[in-house]
Amino acid sequence: MQDIVMNTEETKLNIRPIKFVMWLFIVASIMLFAAFTSSYIVRRAEGNWVEFELPSLFMLSTVLIIASSATMHWAYLSGKKLNFASQKMALWLTIVLGIAFLICQLLSWKQLVAERVYFVGNPSGSFLYVISGLHGAHIIAGIAVLLAPLIGVYRNIAQVKNMLRLELASIFWHFLDILWIYLYVFLLLNH
């Protein structure tokens, strides 16, 4: 009896610290991108900076990622209501939208190349590739995080556990969405 009390006490206690860990990871990511965007500003202020048009496809990727945030939220709500069928559905949709976002980013790189903006060349272009590329790397990590609750539903693991996975995925995914919007607005304002 006492064992059970103790164990539930401990699992309850561990959820909060683990969610907190996710927030701290996000802080680290924010600092990473803050470093890039401030380098961008500092470097740009020094001159010798080639200006060019941002790829028009960025608009589409923005729409895609905002849509994926919506489906993410849908998955979260379904999970909370124990509606596993729609949770699966929504998670799959989110992943597909995430992949579509990545493809769209790759195509916008192609647009850049067509505009003769290369990764190797003036730092103004290199920065754009690095910033969007690292955000893309985060998206790949995000998809991995999304897979955890999805596998959880299929394997039918304990609801408390899977809800934690779902919440973590949702926090991270919304962050990636907001991060991209920040980056996009930043690039729009500074080029």
């Binding site: 907190f20 860990v21 003036n122």
Partner: protein, 638 residues
């Protein structure tokens, strides 16, 4: 009271169903000693790896000190040990630069960041806040293994054709960005970057865990203002790391693209052997901004755990409450905040706008205020204390001494007009070795001597400890103090044979003296290594609370097991510094003793009351005049 006797059954009983991070508890050798997820074992892994790295870093420094002292003498032994890097018994100039670089990198990152924070945060955070383990023991294990791999890669760079990285621990481009610039810019530099990327991952995994554990997993009653100052130090250190290491990571990523993919973030208008490189539009100053945005907080990442440890050790061994507990927290907060807005003081000579220079001067000089608060509080804690000169205490006092000596020269360097003359001279070398190198190492050693009984269940030898202290203390001052004068004379740092310049030939004698002192210091460390490693097996068995300390870790049994406390985690009723409290029976009251058991020594403050004492009424409080009478009777009453 807290110190209950723990029977082996109780220990075992707990082990079966207590804290479970990895299901059941059939601990194999691998899961117990190698891939351990227990914070205590991980702490030991960090410490021992840190010590090994420290010894390597020290040997490297002796090698280049020999070169500086006897620049034109041949040592056939060098060729035997170093092969082509010691051809003809003389150190190769490129290898000299690599030695300096790797020495700095190892000492700053591997010993004083991972070795210090990794050891003591892991050991003390769960113990002192009252938790069974870290928020994520798995991430904690990863953190150690990233650190271990980073160490291995860094050491392996000694075995590549062109030798280890050579552009200095600050790896400024273009030397670090152009593989062909010099031998130390080649494969060794690539390995340096790989190693540091893993190191950053390790720091972040560890730091995130420390923060989450401290903020979420404190035991009942352990409010933020009842936490020992060690924990405050570790918390803010981890926060600084979390905010600054990603910036170094960004700098490293851009550097890698410049090195290997031909981008021009840091490179512009460069000629190698008369030939122009295609890179244009980059800025090497950008790298310095990114690097020092990490670099300056990094020096506080190094010193703050040492300061926290010192607070604990000095208070315990003065048998007095720490002077100005809240001021200590405040100064930690002040230092942490300010450390992010002073990085420009490393860049005064980069052509920085003089106005910006004065802004950085201003913020830099302000940092001296919280630093001074700490120093004065240490001195005030020592003042008229009942000082127990344990080896740990000696090292803690040593820290205070070095912190003052090195802090004062920081004030000189913080003024651009002085720094323009002193930048990149031996004066800077003296400044940071004293304030960072010596201070932090002394703090770390204080921690090792103090918590050794907790880590290994055995005692270290005191006599060897004192000898180690005196030899190290004296040799450290002999090595670094004279460097101030060389710096004032303009002697530049990182030169292979500066004594060949006419104006500096006079320093050769001093160079010999410093090298001899450094060798003395190195020999002293052998005493420590002996004391440390032999007593793990042969030391006297440690009592549960050898220093009569108040903090929670001393309420755990001497034998280690996963979960720390056999029964429930104890609750906390008071701050950790109730030493020599008037009216108390003993000169220390552990945090686990409720106020109801110490009526004779309670003060209105203990109940959170800060007004007029005569107005205060509480069932567990006796007004002062009565408590004085109780104090006289105390021995009989017991």
């Amino acid at each position: 009271m807290a110190s209950q006797v723990i029977s082996p059954e109780a220990v075992h009983h707990h082990d079966v169903h207590g804290h479970d991070a990895h299901g059941h508890h059939h601990e194999s050798f691998l899961s117990k000693y190698v891939f351990s997820m227990d914070h205590k074992m991980i702490a030991k892994q960090f410490l021992i790896t840190g010590i090994i790295m420290g010894v390597i870093g020290m040997i490297l420094s002796i090698l280049f000190r020999i070169q500086l002292a006897w620049p034109d003498k041949e040592f056939p032994l060098l060729e035997v040990i170093l092969g082509k890097w010691g051809e003809g018994g003389r150190l190769n100039p490129a290898f000299y630069l690599s030695l300096v670089t790797i020495h700095g990198t190892i000492m700053v990152f591997f010993v004083l960041t991972a070795g210090l924070s990794g050891t003591f945060s892991n050991l003390l955070i769960p113990y002192q806040v009252g938790a069974r383990d870290m928020a994520s023991p798995f991430m904690n294990m990863l953190s150690y293994w990233f650190f271990f791999s980073a160490s291995v890669v860094m050491i392996c760079s000694f075995f590549v054709e062109t030798g280890p990285a050579g552009p200095g621990w600050t790896i400024y481009p273009p030397l670090s960005a152009l593989p062909k610039a010099m031998p130390g810019s080649g494969t060794g530099m690539t390995m340096w970057l790989i190693s540091m990327a893993m190191f950053i991952a390790s720091s972040l995994l560890g730091g995130i865990n420390y923060i989450s554990t401290i903020l979420n997993m404190r035991t009942k009653g352990m409010s933020m203002t009842r936490m020992p100052l060690t924990i405050w130090g570790f918390l803010l250190t981890a926060i600084l790391g979390l905010l600054s290491f990603p910036v170094l990571f960004a700098a490293v990523i851009l550097l890698i693209f410049d090195r290997s993919f031909g981008t021009s973030f840091y490179l512009s208008d460069i000629y190698i052997g008369g030939e122009a490189l295609p890179n244009s539009g980059g800025s090497p100053i950008l790298f310095q901004h990114l690097f020092w945005f990490l670099g300056h907080p990094e020096v506080y990442i190094i010193i703050m755990p040492a300061l926290g440890i010192t607070s604990e050790v000095i208070s315990t061994n003065s048998r007095k409450p720490i002077f100005g507990y809240r001021a200590m927290i405040g100064s930690f907060l002040g230092i942490s905040f300010l450390s992010f807005i002073v990085w420009g003081h490393h860049m005064f000579v980069t052509g920085m706008n003089p106005f910006l220079g004065s802004v950085f001067m201003f913020t830099t000089l302000i940092i001296a205020v919280p630093s001074a608060v700490k120093t004065f509080n240490y001195l005030a804690t020592l003042w008229r204390g009942n000082i127990q000169f344990t080896p740990a205490m000696m090292f803690a006092i040593g820290l205070v001494s070095f912190f003052i000596t090195g802090g004062v020269t920081g004030l000189w360097l913080g003024n651009p007009s002085i720094d323009i003359n002193l930048h990149d001279t031996y004066f800077v070398v003296a400044h940071f070795h004293i304030v960072m190198g010596c201070s932090a190492i002394f703090g770390m050693l204080a921690g090792v001597y103090h918590w050794y009984p907790k880590m290994f269940g055995r005692m270290m030898d005191n006599k060897l400890g004192y000898l180690h202290f005196y030899l190290t203390f004296i040799s450290a001052y002999l090595v670094f103090f004279p460097m101030h004068f060389m710096g004032l004379d303009g002697v530049p740092r990182r030169y292979y044979t500066f004594t060949e310049f006419e104006m500096f030939t006079k320093w050769i004698a001093l160079n010999k003296f410093i090298t001899l002192a450094a060798i003395l210091g190195a020999v002293a460390q052998v005493l420590f290594l002996y004391n440390f490693f032999v007593n793990i097996f042969k030391g006297k068995r440690a009592p549960q609370n050898p220093w009569h300390s108040n903090t929670l870790e001393w309420t755990t049994p001497v034998e280690h097991f996963h979960g720390n406390w056999p029964g429930e985690i104890p609750a906390v009723y008071r701050w950790p510094y109730d030493y020599s409290k008037p009216g108390a029976e003993e000169d220390f009251i552990p945090q686990t003793v409720p106020l109801s058991e110490t009526v004779s020594s309670n003060t209105p403050h203990d109940f959170g009351f800060h007004g007029d004492e005569s107005q205060f009424v509480h069932e567990y409080y006796q007004p002062k005049n009565v408590s004085a009478a109780v104090e006289q009777n105390a021995p009989q009453a017991n």
